[in-house]
Amino acid sequence: MALLTIHNYLTTYLVFGAMLFSLGIYGLVTRRTLIGMLIAAELMLAGVSINFMAFNRFLAPDPSIGQIFILFIMAIAAAEAAIGLSIVVAVYRHYKTVDAEDLVNLKG
């Protein structure tokens, strides 16, 4: 497969989605602040969405179903970001920090 025609193959998008997903996992594990973890989670969602859209374009009989699914994923991601960030702001107001290491009130 020549390099200039790789956008016509399903595996290109699948491998790229896996790449974004694992970058998100790396960020989620190594970040120390809650906001950084949230950004990494959004990165994972982007990888998953690319997977969905690739299957939708190449394999699904009706390509509008996958697009509707991605629309729902976007709505859930927006709700998740709004709730998560409001929790982060509330945590910051209470503890004066958003560092995951300092939030140890429930630690035994």
């Binding site: 200039l4 960020g27 594990v29 950084g36 859209m53 374009r57 394999l59 976007m74 709700a79 409001s86």
Partner: protein, 177 residues
């Protein structure tokens, strides 16, 4: 780039291929910045670049509508919300540097590489069955599906969004008089 393998570098297809390669590079760079940058605001800039690149991928996947939605919702709404949260809750002077744990970097890299390797191998080795297309996937069809087959989910997602908005206001406002 290898111009020998590509017979028509300056044709429409060749240009599309070049744009696709540039897009892969830009999106990966954005994702890398988002996952590794030391300052949060730079990670935010990285994820803006990454989301814009993902919108380009949607365009290549025959779906300009989702590309517009990606830019509107992710770049326009979620990233702006995150930037407000960074301004409100992550002051630069209190920032601690360095990883939380000596082992978190290597272990995180190992886990991520393992998952990537497994998923890439799975994608490359599986023989995906291709089904015959029964519809085109235009914006009109999406609208019809949303208001007939998926109307229940559509209503539910509206309620979820409403609850999320009210919940975000209640949580973020708590403790303030």
């Amino acid at each position: 780039m290898n111009a020998i393998q590509a017979p028509e570098l300056l044709s429409a297809d060749g240009m599309a291929g070049i744009i696709f390669l540039i897009m892969i590079a830009v999106t990966l760079a954005g994702g890398f910045i988002a996952a590794t940058a030391e300052r949060l605001i730079r990670a935010l800039a990285g994820i803006v670049i990454c989301f814009t690149g993902v919108a380009g991928f949607y365009y290549f996947l025959n779906s300009p509508f989702m590309a517009m939605m990606q830019i509107l919702i992710y770049v326009g709404a979620i990233c702006v919300t995150i930037s407000f949260a960074i301004m409100l809750a992550a002051p630069e002077e209190k920032r601690k540097v360095g990883p939380t744990n000596m082992l978190s970097g290597p272990i995180g890299f190992m886990v991520a590489a393992l998952i990537f390797g497994a998923m890439a191998a799975l994608a490359l080795r599986t023989k995906w069955p291709v089904l015959a297309k029964t519809a085109g996937g235009s914006v009109r069809e999406i609208g019809i599906h949303l208001l007939t087959t998926y109307s229940m989910v559509f209503e539910l997602i509206s309620i979820v969004l409403l609850i999320a908005i009210i919940g975000a206001i209640v949580i973020a406002r708590g403790g303030r008089t």
